[in-house]
Assembly symmetry: C2
Homo-oligomer: 373 residues x 2
C-alpha cells in the first residue's frame, strides 16, 4: 500500500509541496518535455482492504496526468490553476469552499471554465482529489472547506484558533444544541481536555437529541456524537482522533442498509476516500445495535420491525461478500436474518416502551459487551 | 383572518387544551353524537396575504374531521392517539421526533398503524398540523422536535434551560462552528443579552463560514445567521424574535429561484405554514443581494453570471404574479432582467476578486441602503 502522511500538515509544508509541483512542471517545459504529474489510481480496482490495519487503502497503481493528452488537457490546466489558488489561500490564511474557488478561477481565467466541474456536487471532487493524492495532503490542509455536519456533546474541551482568535469550546456546556463538528478538526484545533470513558456515535440527530436531553453522556461519562446520517470527513476525522486517545468507539445505527453503511464507513473508510482511511477510519469501532438478535433479549422489538426495502436486501447480499465483513460470522448471521425475514429495525423503535428506554438498552448492551465486531 | 396565539405556550396551558379536545369528544359520545373536531382549512384557497401585517395567513374556512366518515376514521383515530401521547410527553417533560412518536404509538396500538403516515417525510406533517391549527398550539409546544438547521454567531447571549440544567450560550464565543439553531427557540430559551445593530441572514453555510472567518459580525456588530438553505422553523422563529427586538433583518441570498424563495419565506411565511406566519414571518426583512442590478456598480459581476436554469425562469414568471411581490416595482424589474438575460448570479461570485471582497460589498450596499423591499 501507498503510505500517506497522517494528521494535519503545516501550511508551510503544504505551500512547499504546491510550489514543487509547479517547479517540476516548469523544469519539464524548460527541458522541452510535456508537463505532467503522477497520481495514484483511485478507481475501485486499486482499492484494497488491509487486514492488519483494518481499513481500506489505495494500492500501488499510478496514472499520469499529461498536458498534451487531448482528453486531459483541460482538466490538467484546471488542476494547476487550483493548486495556484490554494497556495494563495494558504498565504492569506483564509478558507473557502469549492464554489468560492470556482469564482476565484472564473475571475482570473475568464469564461473558459467548465462550470459543471466546479458544482458543489460530487463531480467537482475529482479535481481536488487529484491534488490531495498526488501531493499527499488533505483538502482541509489546502484551506478548502468541506460540507460540515455532525454534533458532539460530553466531557471534551477544545481550543479553536480561528480568524486570529482563540476560543475554548466546552462540549459539556452546549445545552440542547451540542457543538457542531466543523469541516476541519485538525488545523488550529487542539484537544485541551478529554475525560471520557468511551465515544458513542448515534446515527440520527433526533436520537442524539433524545439522549442529550436525558443527559446520557453525563451519566455515562461518554462523548456523544451524531454524524446526522453518513459521517462527514470532519466527523470521521474527529472520531478517529478520539479513538487515537485510546477511547473505545461504539456505533449505534438503524439495522438497515444505510445504518450498516454508516458503521462500515466509520470503521474501515469508504471506497472513494480510501486514500484518506489512514486518517479518518476507526478500525477499533464496534457496533452496539440495533440488531435483529436484540429481539431475543427485548421481546417487544419483535413487534417494532418494519418491512425491509429492496435496497436493504440488496445491500445485505452485497455486504456478505465484502471480505472485511465476511470474516465476521456474527455479521453474516445478522444479515441472513434480515434476508430471511425481509424485516428491518430502526433505532427509534427503542423509544416504544418509553422515551428514555433507549438509554437503558444502551447501558445494558454495553455492560454485557454485546457488540458486533 | 383567524387570530392565533403568539410565542410559546406554557405546558400547563397546552395540556389543558389537549384534555379539552378529549373531553369534548367524550361529551359527544355520551350524547350519542359522532366525535369530531373542527380545524381551519389549510389548503391554498384558504391562504391569503395580509397587506397590513405583511405576511400570509389562513382565512376563515373550516373543515370538520369526523370519526364516522369512512375516509377520515383512521386518521381521526391516529390524531387522537397523537394528542394523547403529546400530553404524556408534556407531563414527562421529554421531547421526541415524529419517528419516536410513531414507535410510541406502534407500541401501544400494535400493528394497526399506517407507517407511511409517520415517515420523517412531509406526508407525516398533516397529522401534527391538524393538532397545531385546531388547538392553536405550535408543534414545539407539544414537545415534538422538528428538523433543526441553521447557525448563528454574534453579540447574542442565550440562556438555555434544558434537561434539568441551565447553560449560558455566548454566540460571540463559538469559534469556527457557530451556535447551532435548535428545533425550539422558545421553550426554556431566553435572550439574556443582545447588543447588535442588525441581523444578517446568509443563504449558504459556506458563505457564512467565509464571513465568520473574517469576523464580519464583530466588525459590523451584527448577528450573522445562516439557515443553510431554506430556513427551518426554528431558524425562522429566531429571526422573527430578533426582529421583534427592533433589529433590522437583512437577507443575502443567490439571485436565483431558490434564493428568492428563501427570502420570501423568511419575510412573508410559506403557503404550508401560513397558520404560523404570525410567529415565524419577518415582514420587516429587506433584501441586500445579490441582484442583477449589482452589475452596474460592480462591473466584474457581469463576467460572473451563470446560466439560469428552467426552474429559475419559471419561478421568476410565477413570482411576478404574487400580489406581495407584484406591488414592488424594484422586484418586478429585477425578475424581468433574469427572464430577459436568462442569467443568474450566486452570492459566491462575490469571492471572485478576493476571498474577503464579499464583506466589502455587503458594507457598501448597507451603508448606501441599497435594498430590495
Amino acid at each position: 500500500m501507498v503510505k500517506r502522511a497522517k494528521g494535519r500538515q503545516e501550511s508551510g509544508v503544504v505551500i512547499k509541496k504546491l510550489e514543487e509541483l509547479g517547479q517540476g512542471m516548469i523544469r519539464e517545459i524548460d527541458a522541452r518535455k510535456t508537463p505532467s504529474f503522477q497520481t495514484p489510481l483511485r478507481s475501485k480496482g486499486n482499492v484494497h482492504y488491509d487486514e492488519k490495519l483494518g481499513c481500506l487503502h489505495l494500492g500501488e497503481k499510478n496514472e499520469t496526468r499529461s498536458f498534451v493528452n487531448v482528453g486531459q488537457a483541460r482538466k490538467f490546466m484546471q488542476t494547476v490553476a487550483i493548486a495556484n489558488k490554494c497556495k494563495k489561500f494558504l498565504k492569506e490564511d483564509a478558507h473557502t469552499s469549492i464554489r468560492g474557488l470556482f469564482y476565484q478561477l472564473k475571475f482570473s481565467l475568464g469564461e473558459n471554465l467548465d462550470e459543471e466541474l466546479f458544482s458543489e456536487q460530487s463531480e467537482s471532487n475529482p479535481l481536488i482529489e487529484d491534488l490531495e493524492v498526488s501531493l499527499d495532503v488533505k483538502r482541509e490542509d489546502l484551506n478548502l472547506n468541506t460540507d460540515r455536519k455532525g454534533v458532539v456533546a460530553g466531557p471534551l474541551i477544545l481550543r479553536d484558533k480561528f480568524g486570529g482568535e482563540e476560543t475554548r469550546i466546552d462540549c459539556r456546556k452546549q445545552g440542547r444544541s451540542g457543538w457542531m463538528v466543523p469541516s476541519d478538526v485538525d488545523n488550529g484545533m487542539e484537544i485541551e481536555d478529554l475525560d471520557a470513558d468511551y465515544v458513542l456515535v448515534v446515527e440520527k440527530d433526533a436520537m442524539w437529541q433524545r439522549l442529550n436531553e436525558d443527559k446520557f453522556w453525563k451519566k455515562e461519562n461518554c462523548i456523544l456524537i451524531t454524524p446526522k446520517g453518513q459521517a462527514s470527513r470532519g466527523c470521521r476525522r474527529l472520531i478517529s482522533k478520539l479513538a487515537a486517545k485510546k477511547l473505545p468507539v461504539i456505533v449505534f445505527t438503524d439495522c438497515d442498509a444505510w445504518g450498516w453503511y454508516i458503521y462500515w464507513t466509520i470503521k474501515t473508510g469508504s471506497m472513494n476516500l480510501a486514500y484518506l482511511a489512514n486518517d479518518i477510519a476507526t478500525p477499533s469501532a464496534k457496533f452496539v445495535g440495533v440488531t435483529m438478535r436484540d429481539i431475543k433479549d427485548y421481546e417487544f422489538l419483535g413487534q417494532m420491525t418494519i418491512k425491509a426495502k429492496e435496497v436493504d436486501l440488496k445491500r445485505a447480499e452485497e455486504m456478505m461478500n465484502y471480505e472485511w465483513i465476511a470474516r465476521h460470522p456474527e455479521w453474516v448471521e445478522e444479515l441472513k436474518v434480515v434476508l430471511k425475514t425481509k424485516k428491518k429495525l430502526e433505532q427509534d423503535a427503542l423509544q416504544g416502551p418509553s422515551l428514555s428506554f433507549v438509554g437503558k438498552y444502551l447501558k445494558e448492551k454495553m455492560e454485557a459487551k454485546k457488540f458486533l465486531p
